[in-house]
Symmetry: C2
Subunit: 259 residues, 2 copies
DNA sequence: TAGTGGTCTAGACCACGGG
DNA sequence: CCGTGGTCTAGACCACTAC
C-alpha cells in the first residue's frame, strides 16, 4: 500500500528543502563539517534566503545543525542523552548529581512559583541557581526555589552566611546541604516546551527565544512542597532520559525515515 | 542589585513585541478570545507582518496562542497536563491507558528502530498505531514497534488475523493483548524535541514541521527490547507529567516572569 | 575588515475555513 | 465569496566572530 499518496497537496518549498538537506546531511556530510553559507545555499537551490533559512531552522530544531552568528552552519553531533529522572527519589545536590551550584539569593519568587509552593505572595524564598554541563558544553540552567521554612537553620540575613561563604556557590551549597536534613517523601515532574529567557539564553550560549525543554520538579516533605526546581535544557542538543539505563542508543530516534 | 542592566544590548524588535503581547494577553484578554488579524496587529505596532509573525510564533510555541489558517489567532488555554510516566511499569494497552488503538501493520521498521530492537535490517515487525485524546482534542500519535518474536502466537500472515478482525483497531488490540503475556522486566524513556512529520501533523491537527515532544519508550522482556514506542505529543498544548501526581498545578510554569 | 548568521521590510500570492 | 493565516520573494542593514 505505501503511504505515497501522490502529492495531491502542495508541499511547501521549505519543507521539501528540509527533506533534501536532511538526506544530504546523512549521506554527504560528517559531524562538525561546515555547510556553505546561507546566501550560497539559497542560490544553489534557487530560493530566497528566507525560505532557505526556514528549512535550516527546522533542522536546527531537530538537532541536526548548529548555527553560529559570525561563524557559520555546522553539522551537529547526535543529541546528548541527559539523565533526568533517577527513579530513586533524591534531593537536589545529593552526591554529584551533575549540577554545579552557581549562587543563591533570598528574594520573592514569581507568582506562579509562590502558588506552587503555597507561600505568601511576597514571602521571600531561597533561589539557588545551578548549571549543568555535559561534554564540556552547558546544557541546562536551573532555578531551585526553597522556602525559608524548608531550611530553618539558615540565617535569614544574607550577611551572616556570606561571612563564611564569600562566593555565591558556597551559599548555594549551604542551602542544598540544609535541605537534605528533611525527609524526602516524594517528587513530581513535568516536561514542557518553552523559549529561553534572555538570561538563560546567555548561560546556554543561545539567542533569546531559543527552544528549551523546561523540567519542573516538585519535592515533597513534611506534607508540603518543600522545594521547586525549574530546569531549562537546550532543546536542540539534549535528549532527556528517564529510568535506569543511562540512555545512549537510537541515534535519530524522532527522525524515523519514511517506511 | 536587580538584573535590570540598562539594555546596553539591542533587543530584537520581535522579542520586545513578544513581551508586550504576552503582558497584554495576561491582562487584557481571556482564553478563547480572538486577536485582531496579523495585518492589523502589525500596523498597530508599526512593524512588518513578518516581524509580528515572529513574535506570534514564539507565543504559539509557548502555548499562549493558537493560530488557525482561515480562522484567526486565539488565546490558548493553559497547557494540558498529560500523564506519561506511571511509575508502575506496565505494558502499553493495559487497562485503559488513555491510548486508543488505530490499526496495525506488519512491515520493515526504519533503520533506527531496527537497531534499537536489535532485529535484522529487513525483518518485519508489527507496527501498531495508537492515538491519544485529551479534552476532546488529539494530543499525541504513537507508533509502537513489536518484533514478531515478542508475539509468537500471532499468525504471520495478515490475512489470518484479518478474518477475525476486519478493522485495523482490532488487529492492534490483538498485538497489544499478546504482548501482555510476556513478563515486563523494565522500561526506559527519553524525551526530546522534534518536528511533526506530515502524517503526524495531520493527525494532530497541525502543520508539517510543528514542534512536538517525542517520547521514546523501550520495553524490556526476556532479556531484550521486546517493544519500542515512539509517541509524538503536540508541544504547544501539552505538558508531560511524570510521577504519582496526575499533575494539574502551576499555570505558567516556564514563564516565570522577571524577579 | 571581511564574512557569517540574525533581523527587518514591503510587498505578492496561496490554501484554507466559514458564511 | 471573503478574510484568515501560511508561504515566498528580493532586497537592506545589523551584530558578531575571526583573521
Amino acid at each position: 500500500m505505501g503511504t505515497t499518496q501522490l502529492e495531491s497537496v502542495t508541499e511547501p518549498k521549505y519543507w521539501h528543502l528540509r527533506t533534501v538537506l536532511s538526506e544530504a546531511l546523512d549521506s554527504e556530510f560528517t559531524v562538525g563539517e561546515i555547510l556553505p553559507n546561507e546566501r550560497e545555499l539559497a542560490a544553489r537551490f534557487g530560493v530566497a534566503r528566507a525560505t532557505l533559512r526556514q528549512a535550516l531552522e527546522q533542522l536546527e530544531l531537530e538537532g541536526r545543525l548548529e548555527r553560529r552568528r559570525g561563524v557559520g552552519t555546522t553539522v551537529a553531533p547526535p543529541r546528548t542523552g541527559v539523565a533526568v529522572g533517577t527513579e530513586q527519589q533524591l534531593w537536589p545536590g545529593t552526591d554529584d548529581d551533575a549540577w554545579q551550584p552557581v549562587d543563591s539569593t533570598l528574594a520573592a519568587p514569581p507568582a506562579a512559583v509562590a502558588t506552587a509552593l503555597a507561600t505568601a505572595r511576597d514571602q521571600a524564598v531561597h533561589i539557588v541557581r545551578r548549571s549543568r554541563v555535559s561534554d564540556g558544553r552547558p546544557v541546562a540552567a536551573e532555578l531551585l526555589y526553597v522556602p525559608v521554612a524548608s531550611v530553618p537553620a539558615l540565617a535569614s540575613e544574607p550577611g551572616a552566611a556570606t561571612v563564611h561563604a564569600p562566593t555565591g556557590a558556597a551559599r548555594a551549597r549551604a542551602v542544598l546541604g540544609e535541605l537534605q536534613r528533611l525527609e524526602l517523601q516524594g517528587q513530581d515532574r513535568a516536561v514542557e516546551l518553552g523559549s529561553a529567557r534572555a538570561e538563560d539564553a546567555r548561560e546556554l550560549d543561545r539567542l533569546p527565544g531559543a527552544p528549551v525543554l523546561v523540567v519542573t520538579t516538585r519535592f515533597f516533605a513534611e506534607g508540603r512542597t518543600a522545594a521547586l526546581s525549574v530546569a531549562t535544557y537546550r532543546a536542540d542538543t539534549c535528549r532527556l532520559t528517564f529510568g535506569a539505563s543511562g540512555g545512549v542508543e537510537i541515534q535519530h530516534g524522532p527522525e524515523r525515515p519514511a517506511s
